[in-house]
């Protein structure tokens, strides 16, 4: 019950933050230099079209009325209209959601087990050969820019080895095999940096943990070393990891923009990127709002996971 109450409270606390973001978006949109009509319609629109737009969006109305309108429309799920596609933004987001979430999800799926495994290994073999090797690999992983990695992969795998196609996306729910061949390289790109960072965190967290008094107690009572490592230390070492994993949602969202562009995946990242270039502001704002919400949910889930793992956190 305590945990539920805590979860509830954390979710409730998102609301003011979202509110702030939404308001910030509004302010930014209207603070941008330039004529909103032109922004929406491109350069030299016809007067009639312009008037239409002004009327329907209420650009001639006072700012606070526009704001209120904006909030109301948001509440109804209306994120505006994309002028490039001439379709509601919400529809666009709905369509492009899947590829982004699939890539992100797979990235986590690949990165987490590897990172944790390597991290624990590194901590157990602290300062021995295996540890140094994995640390080096970790450093390499973090230092490699993801766009470079993506391009290199394409260059080697597609161009030279002609093994995998470099662009496109197929939903894994429709055709798993083809989907996989298309997703391998994008996921590797994203997962590399993620794994590297998580692995280093796991390793240092574990090393810290293994020094704890209660680990000495476990050993003193004849608990086998493997159990000490995994059951006793890891559980405690998990705590900082969970935080990082939650925050990585934002890193992945950012990375997805690049990866989707390079691998021509029709996801939200690509949509966002294109909308900036095309000055399709309603799309840009809509996607930003979506990403923010996603991130906030990630943060809250992290907090809840934290409270679940560590009984000392007072969530009453």
């Amino acid at each position: 019950m305590g945990l539920l109450r805590y979860a509830f409270r954390r979710f409730v606390q998102i609301i003011p933050v979202l509110f702030g973001i939404v308001t910030l978006m509004f302010v930014m949109m209207h603070a941008l230099p330039g004529d909103p009509v032109r922004l929406y319609l491109g350069t030299e629109p016809g007067q009639e079209l312009a008037d239409d737009l002004i009327a329907s969006y209420g650009f001639d109305r006072p700012l606070h009325e526009q704001y209120f309108d904006y909030l109301v429309r948001l509440g109804q799920g209306d994120l505006g209209q994309s002028f490039v596609y001439n379709r509601p933004v919400s529809d666009l987001i709905w369509e492009r959601m899947e590829p982004t979430l699939v890539v992100m999800g797979l990235s986590y799926l690949v990165a987490l087990p590897m990172a944790i495994g390597l991290g624990i290994y590194g901590a157990a073999r602290h300062n021995e050969a295996g540890d140094h090797a994995s640390r080096f690999a970790g450093l390499a992983g973090i230092s490699t820019p993801n766009f470079w990695l993506a391009l290199m992969l394409i260059y080697v795998v597609t161009y030279h080895l002609e093994l995998l196609p470099a662009s496109g996306y197929t939903s894994p729910f429709i055709d798993p095999v083809e989907s996989l061949t298309l997703l391998i390289m994008p996921v590797i790109t994203l997962a590399t940096a993620q794994t590297a960072l998580l692995m280093r965190m796991t390793r240092s967290s574990m090393i810290e943990e293994l020094r704890a008094d209660y680990i000495e107690t476990a050993r003193a009572y004849g608990i086998p070393e493997r159990k000490v490592l995994i059951r006793h230390s890891f559980r405690n070492a998990l705590l900082p990891l969970v935080t990082i994993v939650g925050l990585q949602v934002s890193t992945l969202l950012g990375g997805s923009v690049i990866v989707e562009e390079i691998f021509a995946i029709p996801g939200l990242g690509r949509l966002f990127f294109d909308s900036l270039i095309d000055q399709d502001y309603s799309v840009a704002v809509g996607v930003t709002l979506f990403f923010s919400t996603l991130f906030l949910i990630g943060v809250v889930l992290t907090d809840i996971a934290y409270a679940y793992i560590d009984p000392r956190i007072k969530y009453d």
């Binding site: 109450r5 409270r9 409730v12 606390q13």
Partner: protein
């Protein structure tokens, strides 16, 4: 009052202070604390305080304002030159009390009066100059990145010490050698009191004037022919008028404030038993005992009136403890300090304190002159505390009694006397046996919570009081042979009526009826009063106070009222 040798090398002066710091009973108290409370909210912030409560009103939420009552009504006086020891176990609130008195925490209620003025009115700077704290953990209370000498100087810097007092005059005392033909005049700047301690309102600089080299050979013609011996920190300009045969000496303070502070820090190091060379070292190079000496040096640097020491020796080895306590004692005499000493260790307190107050769950339960308290304790907790201290001497008694149970939560302290839940001398109302009262109390508790088990009158009475035998005669106090003990018949019938009320929904009436048989230990909070009731133990400034419903008998010892 300091031991600084002023004739040879001068040395910086302390702040002006009266010579007589240790007071007799006619002195005003230096510190007065009245009704002091410090409560900490249990929940941090608005959202965390909200509780889901289906039974509360239209919105099923309520606001939980419970708080931890760390200090819950403390009164005492502290006279100049005295040492008051506050003893208690962890969680009793003694550290919070110390911090609140020093202004590190804002009191929830109550007054603190320092030297006649309320601490609300005293500007913080002044208050900090006159009070200092010595903390418990010598490791963490010293910044590992700084030199020890600098750490000691911190309070000096903070109060911009030294500052010249304009009400203090400055004068010179000149000694001449072989200059009988000359008239020597010396003047000194008004701020000489920066370096030299004033005596009777005047800072006097001693100087010796003599000719350079052999006086018979040369006549004194210029300033170069004159040497002036000055105390440390001063410089002199000499003008010689050959014709008039006068020598004018103009003395000024040459030591910078930094110099003065450094010199004081060096002196302090020596006073606490360390070496001057240690000035440049870092805390980690010292043992625990030495670090605590550094702490003391720092606290003393600005010559405070009041020093609050929170567990000053608890982390140290026993032999080192003795050394530090000795030092504190010496410093108290030397500087005329007033100590408030917090400790959980009775032996420590016994060694240094004039009076002792025993603290439990936010309140003082007994206060007495040290030796009197150690000879005999009136409050059961004080007694338990003392008898729990192990004694290595096999010819003396060891640990005699062990009080059971744990300290109750400070956010929900027991009613009446806070110690009653664990008190071996709990006052049972007439006719009750211990077990009988326990059962009765459980019923009372249930009624308070408005949660009775069962809904049938007889069944409920049976559940709570079933094991109890009703004693036949009204004045019996002996246990019957029954399982649970005895309660007087009046109580039994009242209980029955109370349950009846309760089942009808009138919880208030039920509670009130049951409370008529409550033990005084639960119904009334004992005040910290002079022990003995009618026999007053007040002797001059010493009093024996105890917060217990037990009475002190004339032969000593306690009995039920």
């Amino acid at each position: 009052m300091s031991t600084i040798d002023r004739t040879d090398d001068g040395g910086p002066s302390g702040t002006n202070r009266t010579d007589d710091r240790t007071g007799g009973s006619d002195r005003e108290p230096l510190l007065e604390v009245a009704g002091l409370q410090k409560h900490f909210p249990v929940n941090s912030g608005l959202l965390s305080s909200i509780r889901f409560d289906p039974e509360s009103g239209p919105f099923p939420f309520r606001y939980d304002q419970s708080s931890v009552k760390a200090v819950d009504g403390v009164d005492f006086e502290l006279r100049p030159g005295e040492t008051l020891g506050i003893v208690g176990e962890s969680g009793c609130g003694k550290s919070t009390l110390a911090r609140t008195i020093l202004g590190l925490e804002e009191p929830t209620a109550g007054d603190i009066t320092f030297d006649g003025r309320s601490t609300d009115e005293i500007p913080e700077g002044e208050f900090r100059k006159r009070t200092q704290m010595v903390f418990q953990d010598p490791q963490s209370s010293l910044n590992p990145r700084r030199k020890v000498g600098h750490i000691i100087e911190d309070p000096l810097e903070g109060t911009d010490w030294p500052r010249s007092d304009s009400s203090v005059g400055a004068d010179t005392e000149v000694r001449t050698e072989d200059l009988s033909e000359y008239a020597v005049n010396a003047t000194v700047d008004d701020n000489a009191d920066l370096v030299v301690d004033p005596v009777d309102g005047v800072a006097t600089v001693l100087l010796t004037v003599r000719p350079v080299g052999d006086p018979t050979e040369k006549r004194v013609e210029t300033a170069d022919d004159i040497a002036v011996d000055l105390p440390w920190g001063f410089d002199a300009t000499v003008t010689v008028d050959e014709t008039e045969r006068t020598i004018d000496i103009d003395v000024s303070v040459s030591a910078s404030k930094a110099d003065l502070r450094r010199e004081r820090a060096l002196e302090l190091l020596e006073q606490v038993g360390l070496k001057r060379e240690y000035y440049d070292r870092h805390p980690h190079e010292f043992s625990g005992g030495q670090r605590q000496r550094i702490n003391l040096a720092r606290a003393l640097s600005i010559n405070p009136d009041l020093v609050v020491a929170d567990e000053p020796v608890s982390g140290l080895d026993v032999s080192v403890q003795a050394q530090i306590l000795n030092l504190m004692d010496d410093l108290q005499e030397e500087y005329g300090l007033t100590y408030l000493l917090i400790s959980h260790d009775l032996s420590v307190v016994r060694y240094v304190a004039d009076r002792v107050a025993v603290m439990y769950l936010g309140e003082f339960v007994e206060m007495a002159p040290t030796e009197e308290l150690f000879t005999e304790q009136y409050h059961p907790y004080a007694r338990a505390l003392l008898s729990a201290v192990p004694n290595p001497d096999p010819d003396q008694p060891g640990i005699e009694s062990v009080i059971q149970g744990n300290v109750p939560s400070a956010s929900d302290p027991p009613r009446g006397c806070r110690f009653h839940t664990r008190c071996p001398s709990f006052i049972l109302p007439d006719g009750f046996s211990a077990a009988g009262y326990e059962a009765y109390d459980e019923l009372l508790g249930a009624v308070r919570e408005q949660e009775l088990e069962g809904s049938d009158l007889d069944a409920v009475v049976e559940t709570y009081l079933g094991d109890i035998d009703a004693s036949a005669s009204a004045d019996t106090a002996t246990d019957a042979a029954g399982d649970g003990g005895t309660i007087p018949p009046g109580a039994r019938s009242d209980a029955r009526q109370a349950v009846e009320r309760a089942l009808e929904g009138d919880w208030t009436a039920a509670r009130e009826r049951l409370e008529t048989h409550e033990s005084v230990c639960q119904s009334a909070t004992p005040a910290l009063d002079p022990a003995g009731g009618t026999t007053s133990d007040v002797v001059g400034k010493t009093e024996r106070l105890t917060a217990c419903h037990l009475e002190v008998t004339d032969e000593g010892g306690t009995r039920e009222p």
